[in-house]
Assembly symmetry: C2
């Protein structure tokens, strides 16, 4: 999830303006420290505009610091939905428990999908998770055989528990939708 997707997500919830999006994004996802990252903020807004994914109220030379409301276009919504339905990032096979869990970032906006679309995404992710679990179990076996350092064995076991947790959670998520 790039900041671009995060921004589109917030703007779909309600049209807003740069500063407010950034404040909310940081308070939701990050510790309080930096709060507003202007460099990223305004370069991303420029890009969204250039790609036709969002429109901004025109700036005014007389009032250079006035709020400029940003609205997502139809093309912006289409691109966002394409991202929601795309599981490329989640499908990465190796040692994914070291890394962030990209499925959550998409799931956070599943309200923009129809129930069948959401169920489809969850099923894909379930398949990915089962595949990862299988890989980790094989990795653990070969690591134990090779006599790998005990900390590394402990880590792969964490990975296995983590993947089991994800699978349970994904199943509950399916039940939630089906009811």
């Amino acid at each position: 999830m790039g900041f671009k997707q995060m921004m589109l997500g917030y703007l779909l919830d309600s049209p807003s303006y740069g500063y407010a999006i950034m404040k909310k994004a940081y308070s939701d996802f990050y510790p309080a420290d930096p709060e507003v990252n202007e460099g990223l903020l305004y370069s991303t807004l420029k890009k969204l505009e250039a790609e036709g994914l969002a429109t901004r109220e025109p700036g005014d030379a007389d009032t250079p610091t006035a709020r400029r409301k940003v609205t997502v276009t139809r093309a912006g919504l289409d691109e966002f939905k394409a991202w929601l339905l795309n599981d490329e990032e989640s499908a990465q096979p190796k040692f994914d428990f070291f890394n962030r869990y990209p499925f959550l970032e998409r799931c956070n906006y599943f309200k923009y999908l129809t129930p069948p679309e959401a169920l489809g995404s969850i099923d894909q992710e379930l398949q990915n998770a089962k595949q990862r679990l299988e890989n980790y179990r094989l990795a653990e076996q070969s690591m134990v055989q090779k006599g790998v350092d005990r900390f590394r064995i402990a880590i792969i076991r964490y990975g296995i528990s983590n993947e089991e947790l994800r699978i349970d959670w994904l199943r509950e998520l399916k039940e939630m939708i089906e009811q």
Copy 2:
């Protein structure tokens, strides 16, 4: 964990040369696709050398593609150990289950720490984890009260389970060392 740390870690296991480190790094942590990222590889090696963290066999104009063995210096080991003992990244308070789990990246090299050092690191991480769990539980309560979208409630509940799993695992890790 930057590529710098990853590289120091591999080189401490055994001195090697650029191409081999990269191959191993990608096969351990990433999917097979790119395999060798020359841009990052050689710029990082240059930097390690410039900072006095590693030395390389001199290059030879006659044999420009000969292997150049890289060895970590004492300063390199010191910097690596400082990174192992530093829990800044892990201490971030918010929605950390969206993100990768930096503690694992350090734990992967805990064999370079003494048992008391490792126990200290694990205890710090346990405190961090308990704090995060508390934060997530409060967040969940307020989200339920506010009537937030059910997918987001589900996500924060995943975060809670995930943190509980981490706490259990950290406790087992302590027991492993203590015996």
